[in-house]
Every structure is written in C-alpha cells, then in structure tokens.
C-alpha cells in the first residue's frame, strides 16, 4: 500500500535553535495521526513544514498526488503546491479568524474553495454551501451572516466546512479545539470524528489536549524539544507510556 504522505527526515531550525528535527513517518489513507507535546516542542513548526507554510531546512515531504503518485511537496513548484492546498489538502487553524474571511458571509466562505477550483454556477455553489453548513450543524438561515456574528464554536465549525467542501484527502489541524469551552469541544470532536470516518479522511492533528487524540487519532507521535520521543498506537502510548516525558504528560492530565 502506498502511503498518502511520506515524511523523511524533516528538520527546521530557527537560527541556532531547533524547531523540529529528524522527523520521519508514513501516513496511510484513512489514518488519523496525532502529534502531542508541550508548548514549544515543535508541533506547529512540524505541521507548517508539512502543509507547505514553512520551508524545511532538510528532508522530504512526499504526497501521493492524483496524477503523478508520490511527489516531494517541498520542491514542487509553487502553483502546484498552492493547487494542492486548495484541493487535496485542508488546513484548520486554531483561531478561526486565521482561516476564515471575516468580511464575507458564511456561504461565501464555504464557496470560496469551490470558486477557486472553477465553480461558476451560483445555484450549485449555494446548494453545496447549504449542504455543508447542515453537516457542521449550522442553521440554514445563517448562510448570509458574517462569521463575526457567530460564536467561537460556530466559527470553528464553519472553518471546518470551508475546508472540507472540496473533498480533500488530507487535513492538517492545528489545535482545532483550542479556545473552546468543554461542552462545545465535545460536540466539535464528535462532529470531527463523524466527518473523518464518513469521508475516509486522513488527518494530522496537532494538540496538547490528550483527550482530543484519544478520541480522534489512530496513531500518536509525542514531541519534546523538537525531537520525536515516542510513537505508537494511541491507546498503547497513552496507556503504557515508555518515555519519561510521555509518562509525565499522561500523568499530568487532571482526572475529574
């Protein structure tokens, strides 16, 4: 089986400081991978390198493109990479304001990716937008409201709809539940889990919240100071942590 994403020896330094280094893994279609670690451990740097927002100093990120098979996204031309990032990839930001156009209505936000890949029929775009708002549990009559009129949880759901509308194969998520209260978090996680399973998405989720990866991720990668210290199946890593840092991380979770 060909992996969807093959990461080989990625490294990114900021001057003398290490952002992340020696990261290699394969992600297979339909698999959800969690990356956990404390603040400053290099999770977001790694994610940004994978999604093409940062250029890594070393290493390869091979993506299984539809036409040419495995191809290094770091070295592909910019138009190609940007095309990928609005068709086969999706990026869910922690802060929905980074991922949404706040001055454009909810329908326009969802429709943007469709129009970017050539949709030119207003009725179809609107129908698709309505369908997606329904899937992320936003009422149909809010389609012409701007995201600034939405609550934080709704904004995050709208961002997810906007990203998934073109049927991507790989979703990058950077702390998708950060900044939301627990009940909204739970609903969002439930929704995400449903969508990921339904659409057979592959996803890479960066978070510091172990509950999120427990629910969503098949596999887990634990990072500390830019290095990967432990990998394995989610339940295995969380129930039987081997590395001292992972043990600390797991034992730090408050039990209510």
């Amino acid at each position: 089986m060909i992996p969807l994403l093959k990461v080989q020896d990625i490294a990114k330094t900021y001057g003398g400081r290490i952002g992340c280094t020696d990261v290699s893994f394969d992600l297979y279609p339909g698999e959800v991978m969690g990356i956990v670690g404390e603040s400053g451990s290099g999770k977001s740097t790694l994610l940004n390198c994978l999604a093409g927002h940062l250029v890594p100093d070393r290493g390869q990120v091979l993506f299984d493109t539809r036409t040419e098979g495995l191809k290094d996204t770091v070295r592909m031309s910019e138009p190609e990479r940007r095309m990928l990032s609005r068709t086969d990839w999706a990026f869910v930001h922690q802060n929905p304001r980074d991922g949404l156009r706040m001055g454009v209505s909810a329908g326009g936000n969802v429709g943007e990716r469709l129009m970017a890949v050539g949709a030119r029929h207003y009725g179809d775009i609107r129908a698709e937008a309505l369908d997606w708002l329904g899937r992320v549990e936003i009422a149909n009559d809010r389609i012409d409201d701007r995201p600034s009129a939405f609550s934080g949880g709704m904004q995050q759901r709208l961002q997810i709809a906007r990203n998934l509308v073109t049927g991507p194969r790989l979703v990058f998520m950077d702390e998708p539940t950060g900044g939301l209260d627990v009940s909204v978090q739970a609903r969002l996680l439930d929704l995400l889990r449903g969508l990921v399973r339904q659409m057979g998405l592959s996803a890479i989720i960066v978070t510091h919240d172990l509950a999120v990866v427990r629910l969503l991720a098949d596999r887990l990668m634990v990072m500390k100071s830019g290095h990967v210290v432990e990998t394995g199946l989610t339940d295995q890593v969380l129930d039987d942590p081997q590395h001292s840092y992972t043990q600390l991380l797991v034992s730090s979770v408050l039990q209510v």
Partner: protein, 292 residues
Amino acid sequence: MTETGQYNFAYLDEKTKRMIRRALLKGLAIPGYQVPFASREMPMPYGWGTGGVQVSAACLTPDDSFKVIDQGADDTTNAVSIRKFFQRTAGVDVTEHTGEATVIQTRHRIPEEPLREDQILVYQVPIPEPLRFLEPRETETRKMHSLEEYGLMHVKLYEDIARHGSIATSYAYPVKVEGRYVMDPSPIPKFDNPKLEMAAIQLFGAGREQRIYAVPPYTKVVSLDFDDYPFEASKADHPCALCAATHTYLDEVIIDDAGGRMFVCSDTDYCAKRRAEGHTGTMGTPMNEDAA
C-alpha cells in the same frame, strides 16, 4: 533660445516620457498586467487624474487633437482644467467632438460613439488593483495575479447576489483580459464594459498607485459572472429627455425640490450631436432654437 523654447512639449521632460512609454509598451505587450512606473508629481492633486495626465503627456504629439471627458461631459471642472493644462503646455488642438479627437482622456466613461483605430483612449484610474478590497496584502495579490488565482473575485460577486439578489456591482466591474489577467476597468459603469473590446488603444494610468496597464485594440475582454447570473450591461430604463436616445448611458438629474427629475445622456457630445441631427426628447428643444 526663446523663452518658450526652454520648455519641453507637453509638460513632462523627455526622460520621464521615455520611462512612461516603456511602461505603456510593456502594458500593451501583456494586456491587463499592471506595470509599475515612477509616477511624477503633477500640478494637480492625486485623484484628479494625475496618472491619466502623465499617460496623455507621453502620448501627445503636436499634431494631435485632444479631448477630455469627465463623467461623460466635456464641461465639468476636471475636464476643463485638464484640457486647459494641455492647451497651455502642449499647444495641441482641443476638441469636444469624439470623432475629431486623436487622444481622449476620460474619467468614468467610454464615449458612446465607437472609436477608431487611429484613436487612443486614456483612462484615469484611482485604484488599479481589482483584488484590493478582497485581499489587503499587495504581496499576496501580486502572487494571485501571477498564478492566475482569481476565485476570490467570484466570492465578491457571490456576496453581491447573496445580499442583493443580483450582481449589484455597477461600476468598476471586474473583467478578464485575453483570458489571462483580471483587470479593474476603472470606475466606468458596467454599461460600458462591452465597449472595452474596441478598435482604439486603451491605456490606463494610476498616478498615486504608480501603475500603468493597457488593452490593445480588438483584445478579448470578458466581464466576470456566474453561469446562472450572467453579466448584464444595465442602464436607467428611460429615454434621454433631450435627444430621446434609448441606447445610451443616462445621468439622473434632480431638477426641483418636489421630486422632479430628468434622465439625460451622460455623453454630452453624443447628445448634442443627436439633437443637431434633429432628435428631440420630451424636455428638449430643437437645436436651432437653442442657438437663437
């Protein structure tokens, strides 16, 4: 050397004209592409057509006949002052008749009379970047132009339909030039958009923004739209009150405090010509009585 001999023809010095002409040639070679140029300070405020004036100055020759249009009219402040400016600094013939002019500088309108191959139409442009209010970063809009990523332009039209039920953008309506660059045609009414495919050379100058772009003769210019909401060149649904024309772009003029109004051709030269030919609207008087 005589006193007038010390001044250069058409205000700008030859090096500046050369720089502007190079930008114009590049603009013509890449239709719709915004060419940066070193815009000079002109003896008029930004927003009064400094870009258009520089382009006109670089194009004028002593044999040219010059016409200036402001919102279709020849007799408004902007048109009069720019016309006088070139009368004094270039000594060229000026005219109000579209057919007699070889260089026409315009603001907000394309003349109703079809232009010919030996004419140049110069537009004054306030904001050359069609993506300006959609994407605030200039670095990003340049990248979007170079990679031909124009989905965002349709988001604007989508928002129009979602909010108003139809495409409410009525001026500065975005167009795609020769299947490549999306261009802001300057704030002309969308009624004029179909006329952008014409025989004359069209040059666009934005002084404050320091950009020049161009549409060569007979270039394909398509107004953006949706399949189910096609582009429509709209105008007020009235005949001209002075010349009875039903195919021209009309201005609405308030004539009293009791809600009275009239619709007249915005192209004053075209309207006068029709009246001279004997067309008379509901509020118009025949041309010969006017003269008396």
